[in-house]
């Protein structure tokens, strides 16, 4: 059974069919790229998969369970995490608190246990504090734990957002243009990071990106859409030479 099984989903915005007949499967540990021209519907697909939009047609299954119409937080509980095209951090919280917030679903203690500071509170808090710092450590960000998120440079904010997504211990990670606004040097580092994430956390990654060096460099297979429809699928090498894709997206 595939981790993610999407069948023929589509959505319409006031007459505009932004996405139609979109299907995709994701196996554990895969690294797949979703590319296509501006306005093709990539972000919209992410939004449907994560419960931000409700698809007007089709069906989404995560680990075999139907996920249509679930709320975003319920999708997270199904093991899906994402980042956003425009970074969305908890800007005024520290880096550490950004991460800790994302551990919410793994914690159990009640309000009473919290305000009476019963053992459950201390145990779980100590546990996530350790896990959060460990996670930051993996991304070489332990130094920044107490920095306010908004005060960090752009590149680190992107990294933090990914880190926060990982804190929900997902099986699948959706990244929306993680390399936007990064220079080639930083993009190269990001490639390593993504590889590292996949290997370390054993997650499947679905990635939207316009930076071809990154997409072609790390994706195992690609799905190309235009006007909300899939126009090509395949290995990077195949896509690179696909005429339709060149014409609509890559340019000469």
């Amino acid at each position: 059974m595939p981790l993610l099984d999407v069948k023929e989903i589509g959505i319409t915005f006031g007459g505009l069919r932004a996405v139609g007949n979109f299907s995709i499967q994701l196996e554990p540990g895969e690294l797949v790229g979703l590319i296509g021209p501006n306005g093709a519907g990539k972000t919209t697909i992410f939004n449907m998969l994560t419960g931000v939009y409700k698809p007007t047609e089709g069906e989404i299954r995560i680990s075999g369970r139907l996920a249509n119409g679930k709320k975003p937080y319920q999708i997270v509980n199904e093991g899906v995490a994402r980042t956003f095209q425009n970074i969305r951090l908890f800007k005024n919280l520290t880096v550490l608190d950004n991460i800790k917030t994302a551990f919410h679903k793994d914690m159990r203690y009640s309000t009473v246990e919290a305000v009476l500071r019963l053992p459950a509170f201390w145990r779980e808090e100590a546990e996530i504090d350790r896990k959060a710092r460990e996670l930051l450590g993996l991304f070489n960000m332990e130094e920044d734990a107490d920095t306010i998120a908004a005060n960090m440079p752009y590149g680190k904010q992107r990294k933090l957002e990914i880190c926060r997504a990982l804190a929900t211990s997902p099986q699948m990670l959706f990244l929306d243009e993680p390399a936007a606004g990064m220079n080639p040097q930083e993009t190269r580092e990001l490639m390593n990071t993504i590889h590292f994430i996949r290997d370390k956390f054993k997650v499947a990654i679905l990635l939207i990106e316009h930076d071809m060096s990154l997409v072609m460099g790390i994706c195992e297979r690609l799905v190309v859409i235009d006007y909300g429809m899939i126009i090509a699928k395949g290995k990077p090498e195949e896509i690179k030479t696909n005429k339709k894709v060149i014409e609509a997206y890559l340019g000469s």
Binding site: T50, K71, Y73, R88, L89, F121, E124, R164, T168
Partner: protein, 301 residues
């Protein structure tokens, strides 16, 4: 007699300041932490006050059970209304929610004037006077401690993340719907408790008290102290109370000066007295150190 330092007058002011602290701190949960504009907090207070008073007037129990029971009932009924008002909050954002809560506060006030069992314009009288300075002091400490511990837990983090970015909060698995309603309910519950304390101290309830302006008073304390700073709330409540008492010496100009004071303070400290920080002795020491450091820059090298 003759000691005069803490006389009835001072005690009275401290008691009402204490009630203001409970009210503003509970409002701070909804506004400062959850990030929702609430302009009808006096409504929750009124509900708590009337519920507790009606309970006390209709039972014959010893003082302590009446007090505790009244507080619990006042808090619970107000909390219930908090859930009720939390539901539109799910769909409304920012200022729209502000106006809904304002409307809610007014509806409550009008209801108190018109319902058969609230005494109408005359209000309720002869409510047992069960609260004194010590009891109130304990209540304030408990409320503040509760809030402090609550916001520093996973629930508090979840509530805070909604203020920061609701969409992002959902995306990391926070059930935002639940936590919005929960935040409202807790805030309203504490306001109800504040109301019941008020009823048991004042011993009469006058519906004129619970106007929009009272809600505004709490709101001002929260913003002035710093949204998301509980110690800031305490500081601001004390400051405003004493400023107000002091200004009685310029009686006729009192509110004019008070208004100017507000405007000036906001302009010079737009984030409130403490911003989102909490007052702590350690923090104070650190600040003193950096200040000292700044004035002797060479010593740094």
């Amino acid at each position: 007699m003759g000691m005069g330092v803490v006389n009835n007058y001072m005690t009275g002011i401290l008691i009402f300041t204490g009630i203001n602290i409970i009210m503003a701190a509970s409002l701070n949960l909804a506004t400062g932490y959850l990030g929702q504009l609430v302009l009808g907090h006096a409504g929750f207070m009124a509900i708590g006050a009337y519920a507790a008073a009606l309970f006390a007037l209709n039972t014959e129990m010893p003082d302590l059970p009446t007090l505790v029971g009244g507080m619990a009932i006042g808090g619970a009924v107000a909390g219930l209304f908090g859930i009720l008002i939390g539901i539109p909050a799910l769909r409304l954002r920012g200022d729209y929610l502000g106006i809904v809560t304002l409307g809610f506060g007014e509806i409550i006030r009008i209801a108190l004037l018109n319902l058969p069992f609230t005494g109408g314009a005359a209000g309720l009288r002869r409510i047992p006077k069960l609260v004194n300075f010590n009891i109130l002091y304990v209540a304030v400490v408990l409320t503040i401690t509760f809030l402090f511990l609550f916001v520093r837990s996973r629930h508090g983090r979840a509530i805070h993340s909604i203020k920061e970015d609701e969409i992002a909060a959902e995306s990391v698995g926070i059930p935002t719907t639940f936590y919005k309603v929960y935040g409202f309910a807790v805030s309203a519950f504490l306001a109800g408790v504040g109301g019941s304390l008020f009823a048991f101290y004042q011993s009469i309830l006058d519906p004129r008290k619970f106007t929009f302006m009272l809600s505004v008073e709490f709101f001002i304390i929260v913003v002035l102290g710093g949204m998301g700073s509980i110690t800031g709330t305490i500081l601001a409540a004390l400051l405003l109370s004493f400023a107000n008492e002091f200004l009685y010496s310029v009686e006729n100009f009192r509110l004019v000066i008070y208004a100017l004071l507000l405007i000036t303070m906001m302009i010079f400290k737009p984030d409130g007295l403490l911003g989102t920080r909490e007052f702590s002795l350690n923090g104070l020491l650190d600040r003193v150190k950096t200040l000292v450091g700044k004035s002797f820059p060479k010593s740094k090298r």
